[in-house]
């Protein structure tokens, strides 16, 4: 069967009423968290994991993917109207979008962001559907050493290639890898680093760490900044609709943003932010209205918004085909798969095609839902921004602890939540990124398994890791991704990388 047949079958799965409902819940929640500053899709999926234990796997995963897409749409609203990005991939949107809103062109800014996200989401999801089978075929020849090399590459790009310091990125990664050691070793059943505490035998829950660091650490950090005066929400004045000139200036940036964002998301190269910065730079160079850049150029909203949605879809390529998460949200979605005993990767396409293709097809449907949610109903979301901060963060912490209590109502688990929350706060203060911790925690045990398998096969000979051509190439790329930025920073070119910092989602 070709991709089209699979996709049609997937559409049948996705069009089941329950799955449509899950998709709707997902995109609605996702838009809400995207709009609210301070909470992102990674946190929301982490919060929902315990709640979805009893639901069926396909429905839950459709909901999680809806949250991911929704978060990408919703973030733009906050950037444009509040000048505070709702999630990290929308930082660039705030540059031009907020200027447009102040000039009374908030409506067209929101519209070009939403329609651009839609166009990009549609093309990129189709891209996902058509590329995935090829990568699955390629992945079938992968052995343990190739997987290990791939994971090393993901570790390097997530932690040290971008951001303002390789040292701090790597430290975050190793914090995650150390936490991953705790518990029973999967291959021999030995306990490691549990110090006789029975609660630690099962290891540290990814959801606990993610919720603690993203929700509690972030709330503590924002509280510690003190009162910096109220943020001003720009009202949407005038028409939401774009005029002919807006359309003419938007469609090319949408397409360019899509083609920049999708490959960057699909490669293990960090978050969606990178694509948005590249797209912004491209639009700035190609524009016919350079004088408007910095004062509200519509291209500067259209391109990056398309890029961030396209890279969200791109992220699903390595996640679904290789089981390799490259962003914090993808890492937690992987935890979601594992919760149902599913391991994403080439095998999943063979053993559970309804689920995989249902998920991909539901993304197409979610995209249509999001367009409706974000254009005619934009007023509802704007009202979310007027919730006073004390109630907003009190509510966020309530729901943050709710998930942990629902999974395991013990004092010990809540103590860990508090401890990791404080750790997350301290890391924020010192400029350590959080995403590598989560990626290290979830990918660490998988990488260890592959490494030990590879070394067992070779009876302890380490050189075997470099003798497979695919593994060698991947390791060389990983080494370059580590060394080149280091040299760039040493030569004072670090600013470029700082701008490309992959922070949260």
């Amino acid at each position: 069967m070709g991709t089209f047949d699979f996709l049609l079958q997937g559409l049948l799965v996705a069009a089941q009423p329950m799955n449509l409902l899950y998709a709707l819940i997902g995109v609605t929640l996702g838009t809400a968290v995207g709009v609210l500053p301070g909470i992102g899709p990674a946190l929301t999926v982490a919060l929902l994991l315990p709640v979805t234990y009893q639901l069926d796997p396909a429905g839950s995963l459709i909901m999680f993917a809806g949250i991911y897409y929704g978060g990408m749409y919703g973030g733009s609203t906050t950037s444009i109207l509040l000048n505070t990005p709702g999630e990290s991939a929308s930082i660039v949107t705030a540059l031009e979008g907020n200027k447009m809103a102040r000039a009374g062109r908030g409506g067209p800014a929101l519209a070009t962001a939403a329609i651009g996200s839609f166009v990009a989401g549609l093309i990129a999801t189709m891209g996902l559907a058509f590329i995935a089978p090829y990568i699955v075929k390629l992945a079938l020849v992968f052995g343990p050493r190739e997987y290990f090399a791939l994971m090393v590459l993901a570790f390097v790009t997530v932690s040290s290639a971008f951001g303002d310091s390789a040292l701090r990125g790597l430290t975050s990664l190793f914090v995650g890898l150390t936490l991953a050691l705790i518990g029973i070793d999967q291959l021999t059943g030995q306990t490691r680093l549990s110090f006789g505490v029975p609660d630690l035998l099962d290891g540290i829950e990814v959801t606990t760490v993610a919720v603690a660091m993203f929700a509690i650490g972030e709330s503590l950090f924002i509280a510690a900044q003190g009162d910096r005066g109220p943020d001003k929400v720009e009202a949407v004045r005038g028409s939401v609709w774009m005029n002919a000139a807006d359309w003419a200036r938007s469609w090319k940036p949408w397409l360019r943003g899509t083609f920049i964002g999708f490959p960057i998301g699909a490669m293990p190269a960090g978050g969606a932010e990178i694509g948005t910065f590249l797209s912004y730079a491209t639009e700035k160079r190609l524009t016919k209205h350079p004088e408007e850049f910095g004062n509200g150029a519509i291209e500067g909203v259209a391109g990056p918004e398309a890029a961030n949605n396209a890279s969200a879809a791109g992220t699903l390529v390595p996640l679904l085909t290789l089981g390799l998460p490259t962003t914090a949200t993808a890492a937690i979605m992987l935890a979601g798969f594992q919760q149902f005993g599913l391991q994403p990767g080439p095998l999943l396409f063979a053993t559970n095609p309804q689920l995989v293709w249902g998920l991909i097809a539901s993304l197409l449907i979610a995209n249509f839902m999001l367009l409706v949610l974000n254009l005619p109903l934009i007023g509802l979301w704007v009202r979310l921004l007027t919730i006073p901060k004390p109630w907003l963060y009190a509510g966020i912490l309530l729901f943050a602890t709710l998930g942990t209590i629902g999974a395991n109502p013990s004092v010990f688990e809540l103590g860990m939540l508090l401890a990791f929350g404080l750790l997350g706060y301290v890391m924020r203060v010192f400029g350590y990124p959080i995403a590598p911790v989560v990626v290290g925690l979830i990918l660490g045990p998988l990488a260890e398994q592959q490494l030990r398998r590879a070394l067992s096969i070779s009876q302890g000979d380490v050189t075997v890791l470099f003798t497979s051509p695919i593994a060698a190439v991947l390791l060389v790329i990983a080494a370059l991704a580590f060394l080149v930025p280091l040299i760039m920073r040493a030569r004072g070119r670090g600013e470029v990388l700082t701008q490309l910092a992959a922070s949260e989602d």
């Binding site: 509280a223 900044q225 309530l398």
Partner: protein, 163 residues
């Protein structure tokens, strides 16, 4: 920001907070070495066993500790913004209160305190108002998640009063 590549000439004092981080990383590495040394006799016939990866990670942590210490001594760490301790203490207090009260007083009351103390940390000073609001809101959440979605959230006196 990467001011690190051009060390400023005026201030070159060691950064004690960053040195502490380096020390903590080294201690964690030591902890891994100490814990994993128990397992040595258990390695399989190849040299690869449950100890291999922990040793590798511990070595990397030592390396990172040295690197961090070097940056700290050169004053390469970014400057920190001023942090207000008060709000942080309120929120931590709220989380601690919830942790300690949860299994005796139930979800609604314990989480109500978390809610009110968090709001206090963000500037809502009227605790006599926000504690009842928090408990009421938490109770609604408890009903939705424990009764409708079958999530096991601990019940206390308040929840037993109604169900």
């Amino acid at each position: 920001m990467t001011k690190g590549t051009h060390p400023s000439t005026q201030t070159r004092r060691p950064d004690w907070a960053a040195l502490t981080i380096a020390a903590v990383l080294a201690v964690v590495a030591g902890l891994i070495f100490w814990d994993v040394s128990r397992l040595i006799g258990l390695a399989g016939y190849s040299q690869v066993g449950p100890t291999t990866v922990p040793y590798a990670i511990a070595c990397c942590l030592i390396g990172l500790a040295v690197w961090t210490a070097a940056e700290a001594l050169r004053g390469d760490f970014p400057e920190r913004d001023h942090q207000e301790i008060g709000p942080v203490a309120w929120i931590v207090g709220g989380l601690a209160a919830q942790m300690l009260l949860l299994n005796t007083l139930g979800f609604s009351i314990a989480t109500g305190f978390l809610f009110a103390l968090t709001a206090r940390g963000f500037g809502k000073r009227k605790l006599w108002l926000s504690v009842p609001i928090g408990i009421a809101f938490s109770f609604v959440v408890w009903v939705i998640f424990a009764k409708l979605l079958q999530l096991s959230l601990p019940a206390g006196p308040l929840e037993r009063l109604f169900f």
